[in-house]
């Protein structure tokens, strides 16, 4: 099945990527290729560079690429603005979604959705048409309509924030979604809602990167590949059973790989 997938072109190619912030190297030569329909999991200790990798792919201005390339659908995107990356179909689900006081969630979602639709040469939606669309998508994450009239993420519980992220993913229909610890801070019911949401949104044309510490999300969404990161590098790549092994043996086990390399 995997070989069949690879007949198509990759969605995302990260090639030997090094990056730093304030002259401090964070990524030290990361390579990763995601094909349509694939689910990749990236695991590793806190501070190993997982979140940084996701932010750099999304274009966070605090990091600068010192070496290597990021290609999206074959095009180098190293110098694209974050909004250009988002419009073209890269989605980052935040570990800590940001609160934006005073800005209505509904309006935020609408402006965001329209920015993506504009890129796709689809008609932009007015308030009424958007209401229809969003109602449908709310079902996926089992969110109440009342969430829409509140300010973006303000006063949301941890679980509500994460569901709001998945709602955005559902509206934006990205080509690739990088979900940074979307499972953290969720109780078991919320985890199931989020996981089933992700499954509903993804299809054979999309790629997903799950950044996580825990096996429990991977029980719900089975990855094709598991990568272990340490000190800014991917030190081991395997299939889904690697995550299980990691859960059993702990990250100390992976320290040995570094010694080997």
């Amino acid at each position: 099945m995997q070989s069949k997938m690879k007949e198509s072109d990759p969605i995302l190619e990260v090639e030997n990527l090094s990056a730093s912030t304030d002259n401090l190297p964070i990524l030290k030569g990361v390579s990763l290729t995601v094909y349509p329909g694939e689910i990749h999991a990236i695991m590793g200790r806190n501070g190993c560079g997982k979140s940084t990798l996701s932010k750099i792919i999304a274009g966070h201005p605090s990091y600068s690429i010192t070496n290597g390339d990021i290609k999206f659908l074959g095009e180098n995107i190293n110098s694209l603005e974050p909004e250009e990356r988002a419009q073209s179909g890269i989605f980052l689900g935040f570990q800590y979604p940001i609160e934006i006081p005073g800005v209505s969630n509904l309006e935020f979602l609408r402006v965001s959705t329209n920015a993506r639709r504009k890129f796709l040469n689809k008609e932009e939606l007015d308030t009424f048409d958007f209401e229809e669309l969003v109602k449908e998508k709310l079902e996926i994450v089992k969110m109440d309509h009342a969430f829409l009239s509140r300010s973006v993420n303000q006063g949301f519980s941890g679980g509500e924030k994460k569901r709001n992220e998945i709602l955005q993913m559902a509206l934006l229909e990205p080509k690739i979604a990088i979900l940074d610890e979307t499972d953290s801070g969720l109780d078991i019911d919320a985890l199931r809602i989020v996981a089933s949401g992700i499954k509903k949104i993804s299809n054979t044309q999309t790629g997903i990167i799950l950044i996580t510490h825990y096996q429990r999300l991977l029980d719900e969404i089975k990855p094709n590949y598991v990568h272990v990161m340490s000190d800014g590098q991917i030190i081991k790549t395997g299939e889904s059973d690697l995550a299980l092994e990691l859960e059993e043996k702990g990250y100390e086990w992976t320290d040995n790989f570094i010694k080997e390399t």
Partner: protein
């Protein structure tokens, strides 16, 4: 981390209303003395009581000192180097709009304020003031049917002298402050509104002030009287051409609300602010005050202050009537080298009076933005309440925001509540919005609108949309 060039490019966004209308004007000589005041009064064919009012004010002004407590920094104003009367030349008496110089109509057209019958705004009556005189007032007949008087103050002096004599200077006495005294001495025109007993004004009333000359000051005077159980919503807009000199604008606005009357006064101020080096721009020294004279009367100020090199303005309420209500909703945005010192005074005199203050200050560039407010509970203000909320937003790291709340209470049985906050648009917030495909500029303006939402909600519909657009335009590229 923000693209520097982008910042520079968009700050240079031209001021949309900076054009000058080429029109022959009648100007008197520069300078200020008793003779000039007599000349202004004579040109306007004023009754004696008004000339006396002006001369008395002038005497007081001569003894007063220009205030410096606000800490605003500006070049000393030479009051002898200003023209105190400037009017576009036109026929002696104009009986209809057809006789107004087409250039003037065109000017207001360009400003989005069409005055002609065919084009005039459908639900708003407009008094258009060009330099020192009122050009035209729309919908007068329709308003007259309801007994509403809406005309220029010069006209009111002629036709409703009794009302002018009764109310002028009763809310803002000539001796109130330096700029109010100056205005009382030399005011040229402005709007007059009278809403009779029991009438709720059938449409919004609006004045549009346009400064055209570079060397003349603008000193308009507005007086609004709402009789018992009447109500009115009044809007005010202002623009001026771009000159590299500073133009003085010292207006006085007086509102009087009797029993159960309500006045809502909204301003969108967009005078020319000067360029990015701080050259040129309007010096805006304005005294606005409302008197809630009657029981259960209500005066509500809402303002969006985006223009002027200097803004010095404190729309206030004197709450005399029992259970009267004062409100102040303000958004003040400063960019480049603009300075704003604005706020309100809520003077609780009568019992069970209530006031609300919501102020949102946004400072970008190298600007200075201060909220200055006074809440006073007098000895008889038993059971009165005030709620104040003052929020500041800083954009970039060169701008400054200050809050100076003064509270004086002589009545133990009253409540004063004050909340204040300061925030900054964070890189994380911007990145979050951008990572959802929202352009940088739009992300900033979304956050600023969000910050101002409590105030925008108070503005009349068409004003709110305009204010939103105006802020976005003013802020383009100012995040750095």
């Amino acid at each position: 981390m923000v693209n520097e060039n982008l910042v520079k490019d968009v700050v240079k966004e031209p001021y949309k209303y900076g054009f000058v209308t080429d029109i022959e004007t009648e100007k008197i000589e520069k300078g200020l003395n008793e003779d000039i005041i007599r000349l202004i009064s004579q040109k306007k064919e004023e009754p004696k009581f008004l000339l006396d009012f002006r001369l008395k004010a002038f005497k007081k002004w001569q003894k007063m000192k220009e205030p410096d407590w606000s800490g605003l920094g500006y070049k000393k104003i030479d009051y002898q180097d200003i023209i105190y009367y400037s009017a576009p030349k036109q026929k002696e008496k104009i009986s209809s709009l057809d006789e107004v110089d087409p250039k003037l109509l065109e000017t207001f057209d360009k400003l989005g304020i069409p005055l002609t019958e065919q084009k005039k705004l459908t639900n708003v009556a407009v008094d258009a003031v060009f330099d020192s005189v009122s050009i035209a007032t729309t919908f007068r007949e329709e308003l007259a049917e309801h007994g509403v008087i809406f005309c220029s103050i010069s006209e009111a002096v002629k036709n409703h002298a009794d009302l002018i004599e009764k109310y002028l200077g009763t809310v803002v006495p000539a001796s109130d402050n330096y700029f109010a005294a100056l205005n009382s001495a030399v005011f040229s025109d402005g709007s007059f509104v009278y809403i009779p007993k029991g009438v709720s004004c059938p449409m919004d009333l609006s004045s549009y002030f346009r400064i055209n000359s570079g060397d003349s000051g603008q000193f308009e005077r507005t007086l609004i009287i709402a009789e018992e159980s009447s109500s009115v919503s009044y809007l005010e807009g202002c623009t001026a051409p771009m000159f590299d000199t500073n133009t003085l604008h010292a207006a006085v606005v007086e509102l009087v609300a009797l029993d159960d009357a309500s006045i809502k006064y909204s301003t969108v101020q967009n005078w020319y602010a000067g360029d990015e080096e701080g050259i040129g721009g309007i010096f805006n020294f304005v005294t606005k005050r409302g008197k809630c004279l009657g029981k259960r009367s209500k005066i509500s100020w809402s303002q969006v202050e985006t223009g002027s090199a200097i803004t010095w303005k404190y729309p206030s309420c004197l709450l005399l009537g029992e259970e009267s209500v004062g409100e102040f909703y303000s958004v003040a945005l400063t960019n480049n080298l603009q300075q704003a010192d604005t706020g309100t005074k809520m003077i609780h005199i009568g019992p069970k009076t209530k006031s609300t203050i919501v102020s949102k200050g946004i400072s970008a560039g190298n600007s200075k933005n201060s909220y200055r407010g006074l809440v006073k509970m007098g000895t008889k203000a038993k059971g009165s309440r005030n709620y104040s909320q003052c929020d500041s937003m800083l954009i970039g790291d060169q701008a400054s925001a200050n809050t100076f709340p003064y509270i004086k209470s002589q009545q133990p049985n009253s409540e004063i509540e004050h909340e204040a906050s300061t925030c900054r648009i964070s890189e994380d917030q911007l990145f979050y919005l951008q990572s959802r495909g929202i352009e940088f500029e739009e992300a900033v303006s979304m956050m600023v609108s969000g910050f101002c939402r409590d105030v925008f909600n108070q503005l009349p519909m068409e004003f709110a949309a305009e204010a939103d657009k105006l802020l976005a335009l003013k802020l383009e590229g100012s995040v750095g």
